[in-house]
């Protein structure tokens, strides 16, 4: 690796993987840790079947290409922004190099950034060739290679036109209507962009607990209480996230209260937010049902999770002055939930939590004032 490659590695490739570490680990867990062994066969068989399914179904094939394209845009946006950062302004020296050398350096940077997709696409190409689906195999390979070739050319263009706001074009794709129509989407973006470490930790814990414990339950000693109790810890960890979301609203979204949005609509924004937040847990539950988890228990865990989050959220309109106080209340609710597990009254409490959250929200939303409790 020459000095120029080292510079590009430290300014583009390393920061990219650092910033998206959570995302990659999550994908890895889903692709290998969770999905891989669920159908009883081993991981390789599962992925082989997955790839064949993709190659044989035109719609899925196009969808996968679209997903790769979106990922490529994500990479391009990152590199474009990095090149245009003030602290990276020294990268303009690249423009002074011979065009061919310059292009190759940028091509390899893009290649390493795009590597996870590229490697997977190579596997797909091999599988396609092995199954005599030459056309599909070539398409997959050429598609991803073209992405790297075009992206490198784009970076050269960016280097030569540092003062232009290139991401304005891709903003239109990435931010299309996100946050345009509801503030639930703005709150989601806050969590996904500003609190991703907490989010990732919570999701990893919840999904791992659900999967590892329930997956190992035998039919003879089927009892999900332990899984539910351990899972509840993660559920209450969401209290921190809920508290931070409320803090964010008070500081950065104080104007929301002045907007003509009905209380019902406002409540539905939170329903949407916490619905999105629980997707990984719900997906894990779905994957475990019915083979390892009974339908009734899947329903209980899902409904309880959702209602508890909504209830905790509504509580922040009652009191959220300090995270310590808020967590104290969260812990109290946690014990109520434990009690419900042992008395098998989870559904009753879930309904109570959901009802109380609606009541608290609708009566407290406009009455709550930050700083006065």
């Amino acid at each position: 690796m020459d000095s120029l490659q080292k510079i590009l590695f430290k300014t583009l490739i390393k920061p990219f993987y650092k910033q998206n570490a959570g995302f990659f680990i999550f994908i890895l867990v889903i692709m290998i840790g969770v999905v891989g062994e669920l159908d009883g066969s081993d991981m390789l068989d599962y992925h082989y079947a997955l790839i064949l399914g993709m190659l044989n179904n035109f719609v899925i094939f196009i969808l996968i290409l679209l997903l790769w394209f979106l990922y490529a845009i994500k990479c391009v946006r990152f590199v474009t922004t990095s090149i245009q950062k003030k602290e990276n302004s020294f990268l303009t020296i690249l423009a002074g190099f011979e065009t061919r050398k310059n292009y190759l350096q940028l091509f390899f940077s893009q290649f390493f950034i795009y590597l996870p997709v590229f490697l997977y696409s190579l596997v797909i190409t091999v599988v396609a060739f092995y199954n005599k689906m030459f056309f599909e195999g070539i398409i997959v390979f050429v598609f991803n290679l073209t992405i790297c070739i075009v992206s490198a050319g784009w970076y050269m263009h960016v280097l030569k036109n540092q003062d232009k706001n290139f991401n304005a074009y891709t903003d239109k794709i990435f931010n299309l209507n996100i946050g345009n129509k509801n503030y639930g989407a703005i709150l989601s973006r806050y969590i996904f962009s500003q609190q991703k470490i907490i989010l990732f930790g919570l999701k990893l814990y919840d999904c791992a607990i659900l999967y590892l414990i329930i997956r190992n339950l035998s039919k003879e000693d089927y009892d999900i209480r332990l899984a539910f109790i351990l899972y509840s810890f993660g559920l209450f960890g969401h209290g921190i996230l809920i508290y931070l979301v409320r803090e964010f609203q008070e500081k950065k979204l104080s104007f929301l209260r002045s907007l003509p949005i009905s209380v019902v609509n406002r409540f539905s924004q939170y329903c949407l937010l916490y619905g999105i937040l629980l997707i990984p847990e719900i997906v894990t539950i779905i994957l475990l049902t019915p083979k390892f988890l009974h339908f009734s228990d899947a329903l209980i865990i899902s409904v309880c999770s959702y209602s508890v989050l909504l209830f905790l959220n509504s509580l922040t309109f009652f009191t959220h002055e300090s995270i310590k106080d808020f967590l104290k209340i969260s812990v109290a609710i946690f014990f109520i939930l434990i009690f419900s597990v042992f008395t098998q009254t989870q559904i009753l409490f879930a309904v109570l939590f959901a009802g109380s959250s609606i009541l608290l929200f609708t009566t407290r939303y406009f009455k709550y004032e930050h700083g006065t409790g």
């Binding site: 209507n177 345009n180 703005i186 806050y190 950065k252 002045s258 907007l259 009905s262």
Partner: protein
Amino acid sequence: MLEFLNVEKTYDGRKILEISSLKIEQGIYWLQGTNGCGKTTLLKMIAGIIPFSGDISYDGMSLKKNSTKYRQQVSWSDAEPEFPSFLSGHELISFYNYVRKASISQTEKIISFLEADKFLSQKIKTYSSGMTKKFSILLAFIGQPSLILLDEPLSTLDLQSTLLVMKLIHDYHQEYGTNFLLSSHHDMSSNFLVMPKKLLLANKNIMVS
């Protein structure tokens, strides 16, 4: 017409505002008062941001009883506005356009008038305090509300932007009959083409001069 009925605001048992009955006719008003007298609190109450006892109504629409319709008519710009740093100006404008059912062309006119188009595609975190202020004022005009509350609209604005904002206020009042309630420590009378009527906030009450 803005109407106050038995309005009281209390913090920690201390009464900040007490307006038993008051009607404010249409026009451009300049809310004056010493530091800490409650100007921002009053504007936030009218905007429906902070709770209070009693009721405020605008053109017969009660803030407490017709919450959404009232908010459609009244908009607000903060003295020290803060917005999500990860959003771009355009994104927040789209959100306002949707929520306030605004005409896109009207919004574009305001953007162009305030010369804000240059920075709206950028993330809000890149805005200076003056740009954020201008952006906040821009948002307050979206959807052509009938009453616009501007808390310290001129603070942090440069001279050119100050003149633009003043002209926008004047034009909106003339063309659409939009009413304004401005709180400022600046001498507003010297900036306006139309002299604003003065409201003095003192002794927990409002006096119209």
